[in-house]
């Protein structure tokens, strides 16, 4: 990094991962959950999100720019680590490695997912229940989506744990342990929401 700005880039990376990217992920999973209430409910919810005013600005500043920065800087962080779980098999060291692996998987998944849905919409396709039904009809794509959704949720939940440490919120080992349990809970809850929505499309 040029100059002496690494501290600020890292903190920005940590912040953007939670606000807005993590919040957007949660909101997206919750809206998807309408699929469990049937085709009409999902289409209404998707249409509402699509028809939000200033949509393109919301997308650029809440999703695209923060996500792009987080992804590109995150790749740089991931590839400067030398993982050593074989020599140091501690829980947090595994989480450290999984955070990097899940980040890369999520990036591949999100890139494909944006291409298949949002960019397709920009080229005239309609994003609705039927579109997802067709995508997830293929067992390969369904598996790809399950892996992608789970790794995105893991990356968010574990990243939230690191966020609390990186900003100096959880300092003592005890607070960090409790935050581990809380973020595991978040992982489980969001995973149930995410998988239920995926299953609803098939």
């Amino acid at each position: 990094m040029a100059g002496n700005q690494e501290f600020y880039w890292r903190r920005l990376h940590s912040l953007l991962g939670v606000i807005p990217v993590g919040l957007f992920l949660t909101q997206h999973l919750v809206v998807n959950h309408f699929a469990t209430k049937g085709e009409q409910a999902f289409n209404d919810a998707a249409h509402f999100m699509e028809s939000l005013p200033f949509r393109i600005f919301l997308e650029v500043f809440v999703i695209y720019l923060p996500l792009l920065f987080h992804a590109i800087y995150g790749l740089y962080i991931a590839f400067t680590a030398k993982n050593n779980t074989s020599r140091f098999g501690f829980f947090r060291n595994w989480m450290f490695m999984l955070q990097r692996i899940s980040g890369v998987i999520t990036l591949v998944f999100v890139a494909w997912h944006v291409w298949e849905t949002r960019l397709a919409a920009a080229f005239g396709a309609e994003v609705n229940f039927q579109m997802m039904e067709e995508i997830l009809g293929s067992p390969f794509m369904f598996a790809f989506y399950v892996i992608g959704v789970i790794s995105a949720i893991f990356h968010f939940a574990n990243g939230l744990w690191s966020f609390f440490v990186s900003w100096g919120i959880t300092v003592t080992p005890r607070s960090q342990l409790i935050s581990t349990y809380v973020t595991i809970g978040l992982f489980v809850v969001l995973s149930i929401i995410g998988i239920r929505a995926l299953v609803a499309f098939i």
Partner: protein, 253 residues
């Protein structure tokens, strides 16, 4: 029967900093209460490898022999630790010795830890009390705080935490946990506190605090049980506040 008992060592050797490492095996007669250093001394006394060939004695660092200087750190059966307190009776055989590759290998098991001392200089891990006149006594330190700070002062710059950290490597310039925790120590001192901002700004530079990826291997590996990750999290809070002060301004030092 007891006289025939032996100890096997497989040692990673390297002749110069740039040459390729290779392994050499040694079989030594067992003695009670043997530690890794006494075994290395035995090899030095009679430098013959397991094949019966005469070889060059192994080069390693040591000093205090009671786990307070940090000089004799090496990787023993995969774990970085001090060789003076590595008792042969407690180790699985063959005992594998290797240098801590995070550092430049000088020769065999001897590494150059000077990057750690450079980091201590960089983060100003001292208390400035020199002046052109007698500054008088400093503020008193509460006994309870002194006892707490003593735990942080146990750091012997041994390098085990850097060896264990996945973010300290040839691809990154992260200074590692040890010098960071020293910033917490000196910032906690009533006189050292007067230069708190200088040290925080030093660790907010490139290769500093923000490079920590929270793998927490350091705190698990530290031979002195220093709460390194608590130090890092506490410094994360201090630097958050410092960054806020720097940007928005503050009347507080």
């Amino acid at each position: 029967m007891a006289e025939n008992k032996t100890v096997r060592f497989i040692i990673t050797r390297q002749d110069t900093p740039d040459s390729a490492p290779y392994e050499e095996e040694f079989v030594l007669p067992y003695r009670t209460n043997m530690n890794v250093i006494s075994a290395l001394m035995e090899i030095r006394r009679n430098p013959v490898n397991a094949k019966g060939e005469k070889t060059v004695p192994i080069s390693w660092d040591m000093n205090c022999l009671e786990e307070v200087c940090g000089a004799c750190s090496m990787v023993i059966n995969g774990k970085p630790r001090q060789s003076c307190t590595a008792l042969v009776d407690q180790l699985e055989q063959p005992i594998r010795l290797a240098p801590m590759k995070t550092f430049t290998v000088v020769r065999d098991l001897q590494v150059d830890r000077s990057r750690m001392f450079d980091s201590l200089k960089r983060v100003k891990a001292w208390i400035p009390i020199d002046g052109t006149y007698d500054l008088g006594p400093g503020p008193r330190m509460p006994e309870k705080k002194r006892q707490w700070a003593y735990e942080l002062s146990k750091c012997m710059t041994c390098g085990v935490c850097l060896e264990a950290c996945p973010n300290v490597n040839s691809k990154s310039d992260f200074i590692g946990p040890a010098p960071l925790s020293q910033v917490r120590l000196f910032n906690a001192h009533p006189t050292g506190e007067m230069n708190k901002a200088e040290r925080l700004e030093a660790i907010m530079g490139d290769g500093g605090l923000a490079n920590c990826g929270n793998s927490q291997n350091c705190v698990q590996s530290c031979p002195k049980g220093i709460p390194l990750t608590t130090s890092i999290a506490a410094l994360n809070r201090d630097t958050s506040i410092q960054a806020f002060k720097n940007f928005f301004g503050s009347d507080q030092v």
